[in-house]
């Protein structure tokens, strides 16, 4: 194994492969920064260019690009409250709150450092898990994956507010997200649900316009009515100093970062759950790590742990989702499905061959993820303080630029004006939620998980009737979901 690992490193460091990786990193850097340009779309656009490349060069290019998208996606989330990627929306919650407190540098430092830790954990998991992953993936059928989605929702909903009422609101928001995920043509019977006879809604609500609306629009309104900069009245000089503080935060909460990385890797391994889920699960876990209710109240108000968790999970999921893609040819996400196309274009068949005959290529992917993230984080740190300085620019100068990004980001999802209306509609809803003090995270996780949960619930019921509820792993997951819901009550009671 060590020999193959070394061989994989040498393959990536060949000048041609390294050059393609740098090109990929450059592309991924901007794709991550710009809202609306998704990592998956860019992978698909770049796929035709790999025809003439060797496998190692092609994967250095594609994975180098893909591995850094989530890393730089966090930057716009932190600076403007505008998710650069659907997979970096969870970073907005506490990252942007830190920015408003004048801690943009610290938040960016934490996001990038945790991203790097996450990427390394994911890559190590990919290297180590390939021989043992088969039984794990096979243990999780549709019933288990459905329950895993429910556990994720329980995590977020139960932690999104104070007391019983906060929890009820969390579940209402999650339920609304799940319900809105059913908009569009239903995959089982082909019924057009809640489409109001409009063709645009047949394919359902696209995640990007919803996310951009619900997170960015309320912040634009807030910035407008405050009339000052994003960092508000933070002391001069504080904003741009703090990137290293963010790095130190990563090491202060090192085990939390590692745990969130492992959550991301695990979600990545499970086919069909996807990267958008991993960040929210990690956010839920980070919030749960708060020891007292007072400490938990800090989440959403700018707690650095709310940045570290999603930052780490976002990047570790890449290594995780490569595991089933490489080992079984079962892609863990849309991006991995496109990458699978890359395998086939290059004449590689995912499966046992990738673990024996082409194992050096497989390990070159591990190295690509690590090296690409190290380079990106190092480059970002050179500009981090300047980037953080943007938050001290007058709000009225930034608002039109952010609005242009908001509308273009939404429009590029489907190239349809309906995307813009969806953004404004959910912007209104996000604004109401902020004013009412409702958490937006459960709603987003509900929307992300809705289609997946419905599909798995249908398959479970059709295949096992109600007997799926008695499967051992399902029972364990039900117990975890109940424990997650009961934990805040138990904690409150214990504290009297």
């Amino acid at each position: 194994m060590l020999e193959a690992l070394w061989e994989g490193l040498l393959l990536v460091l060949q000048w041609k492969a390294f050059g393609f990786m740098l090109l990929g990193i450059g592309l991924g850097f901007w794709v991550g920064l710009l809202p609306g340009l998704g990592g998956a779309t860019t992978l698909a656009l770049m796929l035709p260019f790999i025809y003439t490349m060797q496998p190692v060069e092609a994967f250095a290019f594609l994975l180098g690009m893909h591995a850094v998208v989530a890393t730089t996606g966090d930057i716009t989330s932190v600076l403007f409250g505008l998710p650069g990627e659907a997979t970096s929306a969870a970073t907005v919650v506490d990252g942007y709150a830190m920015t408003k407190k004048g801690e943009a540098g610290r938040a960016l430092g934490a996001a990038l450092a945790s991203s790097l830790v996450g990427a390394i954990v994911g890559a190590v998991a990919l290297a180590a898990a390939i021989p043992v992953v088969r039984p794990l993936v096979l243990t999780f059928g549709s019933p288990e994956l459905f329950m895993l989605a429910i556990v994720g929702l329980a995590f977020i909903a139960s932690l999104s507010g104070e007391g019983t009422r906060g929890m009820v609101r969390g579940f209402i928001a999650a339920g609304l997200g799940l319900l809105l995920a059913t908009v569009g043509q239903d995959p089982q019977a082909g019924v057009a649900r809640f489409t109001f006879d409009t063709l645009y809604l047949w394919q359902g609500l696209d995640l990007v316009p919803v996310l951009v609306g619900i997170f960015a629009i309320p912040e634009i309104i807030d910035l407008f009515v405050r009339g000052n900069s994003i960092a508000g009245n933070a002391p001069p000089g504080k904003v741009a100093k703090g990137a290293w503080e963010g790095v130190k935060d990563t090491y202060r909460h090192f085990w939390l970062t590692i745990r969130c990385s492992l959550i991301g890797t695990f979600i990545g391994i499970m086919p069909g759950l996807g990267g958008s889920v991993a960040q929210w699960m990690a956010y839920g876990h980070a919030a749960q790590s708060a020891k007292t209710p007072e400490e938990r109240k800090q989440f959403g108000q700018g707690d650095v742990r709310g940045v570290l968790g999603p930052g780490a999970a976002n990047n570790s999921k890449e290594g995780g989702s490569l595991i089933p893609t490489v080992a079984f040819g079962v892609p863990g996400s849309t991006s991995m499905a496109i990458l699978l196309g890359g395998f086939l274009l290059l004449g590689l068949i995912p499966g046992p061959d990738m673990l024996t005959k082409h194992v050096a290529v497989t390990y070159s992917m591990v190295w690509t993820i690590v090296i690409a993230n190290v380079i990106t984080v190092a480059v970002c740190f050179l500009f981090l303080d300047r980037l953080a300085g943007i938050t001290e620019v007058k709000g009225h100068r930034l608002i039109p630029v952010i609005l242009v990004l908001v509308y273009i980001g939404s429009y590029t999802s489907n190239s349809h004006y309906g995307d813009l209306l969806v953004t404004l509609f959910f912007g209104g809803m996000g604004y109401l939620m902020v004013r009412a003090g409702w958490a937006r995270a459960p709603f987003v996780l509900g929307l992300v998980l809705g289609k997946i949960a419905e599909n798995y619930l249908y398959i479970s019921t059709a295949r096992y009737d109600a007997a799926w509820l008695t499967r051992p792993v399902v029972l364990v997951l039900i117990a975890i979901a109940l424990a997650v819901i009961a934990y805040p009550f138990f904690q409150a009671r214990r504290r009297g």
Partner: protein, 144 residues
């Protein structure tokens, strides 16, 4: 404001859940299973939240700033995009906003507008060839 916003949200969600349950009743069970499984508990939870809000005493709150003006700008930009198409709307909106709302000088407004428009056009139109249709106004006038 928080109480009113909470009540408005809960009422909207109650109506949405009620409609979802009502609509799902007419579908095959395959299509109706999930909306019913979510819609019914959601309706009940929203009703509880409304009752909770109405029963709670109204606490004195700080008056919230009026969000009408930022909404007006956002809706106006959307209308410009639909009527004039993205490339023209971006330039017009940037310039008008910077002059009329941000009260910036001509030089700054023109330079920032040109920079943003250049980045938008260079990246999305020239490099990525994203389809930005001409505005409806040009279609109505037969110029598109």
């Amino acid at each position: 404001m928080a109480r009113k916003a909470s009540l408005a949200l809960a009422v909207l969600i109650l109506l949405a859940a009620g409609y979802a349950v009502f609509a799902a009743k007419g579908w095959q069970w395959k299509a109706a299973l999930f909306p019913l499984a979510i819609g019914i508990p959601l309706f009940c939870l929203a009703a509880i939240e409304i009752a909770w809000t109405l029963a709670a005493k109204e606490a004195p709150e700080e008056p919230a700033p009026n969000p009408a003006l930022p909404w007006a700008w956002m809706i106006a930009f959307l209308a410009l995009i639909v009527l004039l198409g993205f490339p023209i709307a971006v330039a017009v909106f940037m310039l008008v906003y910077l002059k009329a709302q941000a009260k910036e000088g001509w030089l700054f407004s023109i330079v920032l507008t040109a920079a943003v428009w250049g980045a938008f056009y260079g990246l999305f139109d020239m490099m990525l060839h994203l389809p930005f249709p001409a505005g409806w106004l040009f279609e109505w006038l037969g110029l598109a």
